[in-house]
Structure formats: C-alpha cells, structure tokens
Symmetry: C3
C-alpha cells in the first residue's frame, strides 16, 4: 500500500489542474493545507469544494470550504477563494485521485497465486492472493489483479489495468490499457447460443472471445459474454456500471456510458457517445446510432437511426389510480380514437347544418 | 459442523415460542417427536405446520401435521393439536432455526486463508478456505467468513455476522452485527462517477465507503457501491434480496425490504419501513418517505412525499392485443380526450336545443 | 488442455451430422480442409457456413465459404458446395464443438484445492485451482470444476457437468448430468424469507435446497435460491441465461428457456417448453402453463392458463412524444372511452332523427 501526500497545499492542487487562483495569493496558497474534498454544504475549512452547476450557486455563500473550483463566470460573482477552471467537475475528477486511499497491492506475485509457467507477468504488475492466471496469458506493466481474480488461457491484460477482487476474465479475451474491471464481473462466459432441435436445446460452442478497448470500465457483477463465431467488442473509454448484461457479439462504440442493470441482447450494435440510463433493455440484432440517449428502463425493440432521446414505459402513480389506468389501457384496442374524433367532427358539421336550417 | 437436537419434542418447541398447547396435555407433548416443519398440505405426523393466513383454513381439516401453529381465533374452530401464538408466521420463523442444518464453519482460521498480520480476528470467529483479510481489518466474535470471502483493508465485520462463499467487502466498509451477506455480493466497489470532459469520461475517485447496520441482510450477487465523498448507508434490519444494485451515496432507512432485481441510482434516500417489490427502478438524487410500497417493476422518477402504494407499467395481455394497444398508445398524444369529451357535451347541448326547437 | 483435430476434412464433418454432400464428390470432400465456421458473409474458403433462415438466402450467392449447411429445399436452388441436413442450425450447433478450443482442465485435483476428506471425487473429474469441496459431497465422472468453484456440503454434481470459474453451489444441492453452471452463478443461497414481527423482520431458515435436471444450463452471475421448506426445482434441459434471479421454491419445467435479466419470485411454477425473453419479471405464487412465450420485459402478475404469447409495457418513442403520452395516460382514468363512444352513437341517432324530421 502507498502513502498519499495528504494534506496537499492549495497551491499544489491548483497547479495539477492549471487553475487560476482568485481571492488568495500564490504565496498564501502555498500555506493552505487541504485534507480532502467535500460538497459545498458540508466542506470544512481544510477541504476543497466545487461548483459544477449554477443551480448550486446559493450554497456558495454559506460554504466553509478552503476554496471552491468554479468557472470564471461564477468567480466574477464570488468573493471567497476560488480555483478558476474551464470545467470544474472534470477538475474535481482529476483532484479526487489526490485523496484516493484505496490500498494498492504490492508489486509481485503473491505466494498463494497460481500462475501457469507459460504466462507472462510484467515485473511491475501486482498479483494478489489466490489469483489464477492460466496458460499463455500476458499481464502488462503496472497491472493490479486483486485477490481471487481469474484470468483464463491466452488472455492479454493491458498496461495499467485494474481487476477488482474476484473479477473473471475467461480464455482468449483481450483487455486494453488502463481498463478497470470491478469485483465479480465476468468477461467471456459462454454466449447464450442454443439451436432448437426436436423440442430440445442443442448447445452451440461459443468460438469467439471479448475485446475491451483502453480506458474502459466494467462494473461489479457485470457480465459480457464471449462471441459465437466472432468477438464481442467494447470500444475505447466505454463506461459500464454494475449488473449490466451484454450478450454475445454485441458491439459498443467508443465513449458510450451504460448505467446499472441494463441488458443488451446478442449481436446488437450501439454507437459512440450514447448514454443508457439504468435498467434499459435492448433486443438482439439491432443497431443504435451515435449520440442516442435512452432514459431509464426504456425497452428498445427496433433500431434507432436518428440521434436523440428515447423513452418507454409509463409514469408512476398511486396504485389505486394505476389500476384504473391499467383497466382503461386494456380497453384501448376496443376503441379507435381516430374514428371517435372523426365521428365527433361529422356530428359537429351535421348539427351546424341543422342549426342553419332551423334558423335560416 | 454442528449436530442439531433433531428430533425436538413438541413441548420443547412450544416453550421456545411461549405457545399455549391446545388439544394435547403438556405430558403428552413431551413425548411427541417433531422432525421438521412443512406446509399444511404436505406435513406428516412428525412435522409441525402453521396457519398464517385465514384463507388457508380449509387445509386444516386434511392436514396430517403433528400440530399446527395458529392464533387463538383460529384455534377456537380447530379440533386438532395446535400451538397458540400471537403471530404464527413469526413463531414459524423462530422455530425454523431449530431445523436448520446449514453446515457451520469450524472456529479458527483455515490454513489456506490469507490474513494480513495487522488484521484482528476474534478467537470465536470462523475463517474458511481461501478467505482473504487485508490490513487493519477487524473480524468480530462468532463471525463466519465462508470459503473465498474477501475483506479489504480497514473493514469492520460486526459480531455474529455471516458472509457467504465468495462475498466481497472492500476497504473501509463497516458491517454491523448479525448481518448476513450472501454469496457473490459485492459491498464497496467503486461508485459510477465520471465527469464528461471534451467528449471523454474522466474517472472520479470514490473516496467514501459503505456502512451497513445491524441485523441487515444482503442477497446473493447484490452490489452496494462505495460513496463518492461520503458513505453509502444501509440502515438497521434492512433486508435486501438478490441481484439488487445500490448506487453510491444511497441511504436506505431502517426496516426497509428490497426484493430482487431492484436498482437504486446514486444519492437517493429511501425511508424506513418501505417495501420495494422485485424489479423496481429508482432514479438518483430523489427522496422516498417512510412507509412507501412500490409494486413490482415500478419506475420511480421523482420524490415520493406521501406514504402509500405506488405503481407504474402496463398489465400483461396477449401479444396480439398488446400490439394493438401499443399502436393506440402511440397515437394518444395526437388526441385530446378532454377536448373530445367537451365537444361531445357541446353537441349534446346543441342537439337537445334543436330537439326542443323542432318539437316545442 | 486438449489439442483439437483442426483442420477437419469436409468429409469428416459431413459424416458427424449425416449430411448429404452436394456439388462435390466424397473423394473431393476428403481433401477439403475446414479450419473453422463463420457467417455466410464473412466465411473464407477454409470455413464452413450455414443457411438457417431463408431470409439470408441472398447471401449465398456471394459467400466464399468452402461449403454451406442447408436444407434440401434450399440446396435445390444452390450451385455451390452444400451439406444437406434437415436442421442446418442444429447441425451447425453440433459441428461448432469440433472447433471449440476452450481449454480443458487437467484431470485430477489441483494442489491448491481444498477437498474435504469425506468428499468423493471421481477419478476422471478435474478440480481446478483454489476449488473448495466440503464434507460428503460427490463429484461425478468427467466433471470439470474450474478455478475457485465452491461446492458446499452434501452436494451431488452429476457426470459430465461443468462449473465455470467461481461458480458457487451451496450445501445439499443436486446438479444433474451434463449441466453447465457459468462463472459467478450462485446455486442455493438462502431464499428471501422473513416474517414481519412488530415492525421488524424475523429471518426464516431456508431448509430446502436446489435440484437441477440434466443437460440444463445456468448463466453467469445467475442466482437460484434454496427452498424454504421444500426444494427449488429446475427441470431437464432448461437453459437459463446470465443474471437471472430465481426465488425459493420456484419450479421450472423441462426444455424451458429463460433469457438474461429475468426475475422469478418465490413459489411460482413455470411449465415446459416456455420461452422467457430478456428482462421478464414474474410475481410469486402463480402458475404459467406449458408453451407460453413472454416477450421482453413483460411483467406477469397473474397465472397464465393458455399457451400463447404475452406482453406488457409500452413501445419506445422519442422522449418528447413519450412525455405527452405519459401525461395523457395519467388522465386516462378521468375518462370513460366506452361512455364517450356511447354518447357519440346516441348523438348520431338523434341527429339522424332530427335530419329525417327536418327533411321528411
């Protein structure tokens, strides 16, 4: 494990993000000690806060923070100490790592790990307790394999990647550089491929693997299945939350974000810069173009060719009200709203005619 | 592993729950041997059954059970042997443990476990095969860590807690007393925190941890993420089923129950005594008050301030019917039901006027 | 690990599936080497392809494949080399195993495995690194337990079964022959049984176990809970995808297929030959008859007594449109479509009468 340089000086933190100091001189900032980061409302005088959205501006007046990350626009109205940056939230993201006390594994291979003689582990990599690395796999520089990680045969784990406790990567999968795979994630289990044959299910061997691009992130207990014939492919800087299921031969484009509990069925392709909110379900064998936003729990049953935001489902209401709505909904196919509208219009015309006739 | 005192005498079981015997003398009950518990319909003459809901009363007449747990109200109409208690289902819960033959781990640390020199393991705790306990963690009295459990650095596992095979608790998390964490659950993986920065995702270090109150229950393969700045907090006697996802900085109030496959996004607060049925999805940054009941698969997109039952979604129907409904639903925004209703009323008034005019 | 006989001759593959050669003599086929299988569009001259659905027929003309699996009907219109079979997709499934290079564990017990002295492991079984097998369990012939598998006390794992890395089978569970349980699946964790008692949750010991029939398949990170009093039962040749949750005392009939992310609550019974698409949720204590098809994300809240296809949910639309629809939906209970329709009909009759009166 490493010791962090906590506390940092405000000057040192400002330098890391190329921030402009306001309300404080560089000399003073070199003597202000920062022990952590916190939201505006709870920050103490030894903590740094950030203002990422103007709707939190009211909290500025009362903050106890030593300094606040903000844009130049916000800083013009602020009397306190600020670090001026273009993107305060991204600056916060960068600085958060200065306070990260996640224990780091010791470099080297733990005595309880089982590493096949043909596997190659870089000398700067850390292989934790009870890790298993099978034949002909290659573990890159600075990789951390936490306790209980399984890496199957012929895998490549790129430099700087982190696999959390109990993460599983099965044979022939390729993980890029600086990828983080969290606990319990399973990369490369068999795709769900079965042929119906006289009422029985005949298993199809899954001959592909999984490729994950650099700087991507796979959440805890997420599953990404190996391909049937070709590989399942996750792009570069794709971020995937927990408990997501990605079927065989899915392709996910670069920079796409997938929140927890989404399920994507086999052979579907998702573009770049898409955002899937939690619980979205997508059928197999369709395509979703770039820059699509799917709101929570949306059910996608056909391809999406236009960028934009899409939704399905019904809004929540009190269960009593919901039951009435459900009954009405069931009856909806018994009626044609279009016909009813036309009938009303026809009646309006007829009544108008009758009125004219009666009152010429 | 332990040997249970099976069979029990009916008298011994009655005493454990302070039940009043009916239809049998205490002397007789001391000689009736009970080998297990079973539903009314399948219980044999050496098994104990229970009547928890009056709608199962008809099954009483035909039961072969040695005795039946029931309320005094039910007992007044029953001629057989009964154990009278206030809450038959709770009494059944208590007695179920008399027949639980789940193997218990041997006290002590298995030779294959990897326990850091600075970790403290209570002498009454049981640490199974291939368990890993990292630096400065503290394992309380009577704790059972089943095979393959991972406990990260600086964790506390409260007295009497049980972690099933392969459960993962990451660094700095605090688990209360008598908590049960089932197989494959992951407590304290990174929250899903990323800042968008020029089209890329910048990771935010997750500096908080997870706290779980006493007598809580975390299901198999459930994930509870560590907080971004502060901790994620699960209250006291919270029961959570399998495959639930709880995002960073969520707070769950005491005595709340969460069924399988629910997903709760970051920073949301859920009150006490709530019940979430299976598959509920809740967006981030909202509040749900105490005593809220959410029916299965409800999508919650805004705060709930009134206790009560809430639902969303549509009722199931035959797919053919459902397709027609889906088409009608899509057209719904093209119509104003309110306008149509008003137009009908206007027509009714006009026609009535015309009729009066024609037939004065 | 094994060496596969790759490449195969086309003649050898044809023989394995009793295919009739077309466009090539048996002598020629004995000299055509096949190195793999691929889709029609990407197959190379050393690969075998298949035509399983007539809608892909257009791809036949351009395929580079050495030969194509197809029915006799399709073959009549095809000039190239084909292997004629009744069910090309099932034939593809069978042949896929000829190219499966999944590493096989070495027979025997890895030195790091912890196997209880009373457990019986067949001499042809393979027990990988860090596997744990507890007391009185029985591991059948040719079973593969990959690295980190946990088998609790008194389990039976049938001949030919495969448990992927980190799969968990808890005490007293019975797994049939040739069952595949993928990584991170948890069989036999406690069912979610709690009795409410004065505002608190009282745990009910889960005294049953799980039984899984032969030739079944359990996906990665799927959870199947042990029964409360009796067992949870999965039939023969049931195929279950990843991240499925099956509650205590559920029964799943033979040959049923369950796609990813489904959740089935306790004590529900599902018939034979059913197909559940992804994300289906089913409440507890209901029955679903044989040959039921549930489309993706369907919410099932009551028993289904007629075979057929069932659905729920709403179709996806652009978020703007969806919001309007959601508003209209909420208002639906304020209107009676039936009444509106009747009022329109009454008006039509009255207007017709008025017109006849005015224009006799």
């Amino acid at each position: 494990m490493t010791t962090l340089d906590i506390p940092w000086t405000l000057a040192a933190l400002a330098e890391k993000i190329n921030a402009t100091l306001q309300g404080i001189t560089p000399e003073q900032a070199a003597h202000v000690l920062i022990e952590g980061m916190a939201p505006l409302t709870t920050a103490t005088p030894t903590q740094l806060a950030f203002l990422a959205q103007s709707r939190y501006r009211a909290e500025l007046a009362r903050t106890q923070a030593a300094a606040v990350l903000m844009t130049i626009t916000e800083a013009q109205q602020f009397k306190g100490v600020s670090l001026i940056v273009d993107n305060p939230y991204a600056a916060f993201a960068i600085l958060s790592h200065c306070f990260d006390n996640t224990p780091k594994l010791a470099v080297g291979i733990h005595s309880s790990a089982v590493v096949h003689a043909t596997a190659i582990v870089h000398e700067s990599a850390a292989v934790g307790a009870h890790v298993v690395i099978e034949a002909n796999s290659c573990i890159g520089a600075d990789v951390q394999l936490q306790a209980g990680v399984f890496v199957g045969a012929r895998c490549q784990i790129g430099a700087g990647s982190f696999l959390g406790p109990h993460a599983v990567v099965q044979h022939d999968c390729i993980i890029g550089e600086r990828v983080r795979v969290h606990s319990g994630a399973v990369i490369g289990a068999d795709g769900f491929g079965f042929a119906p044959d006289k009422g029985q299910w005949q298993r199809i061997a899954q001959l592909g693997a999984v490729q994950i691009g650099s700087d991507s992130r796979i959440g805890a207990n997420t599953t990404i299945d190996r391909g049937a014939l070709d590989d399942t492919i996750i792009g570069h800087n794709v971020i995937i939350d927990n408990q997501v299921q990605i079927g065989h031969n899915v392709h996910i484009g670069d920079y796409t974000a997938i929140a927890a509990c989404c399920g994507i069925a086999g052979s579907t392709r998702i573009g770049q810069h898409c955002i899937l909110a939690g619980g979205v379900g997508i059928v197999g064998h369709i395509s979703i173009t770039d820059n699509v936003h799917l709101t929570g729990m949306t059910m996608v049953t056909k391809s999406i060719e236009q960028a934009g935001s899409y939704s399905s489902g019904t809004a929540m209401s009190e269960s009593k009200h919901w039951k009435k709505m459900a009954v009405q909904l069931r009856q909806l196919p018994d009626f044609s709203l279009l016909n009813m509208q036309k009938q009303i219009q026809a009646l309006q015309a007829e009544v108008a005619a009758l009125k004219r006739q009666d009152n010429p």
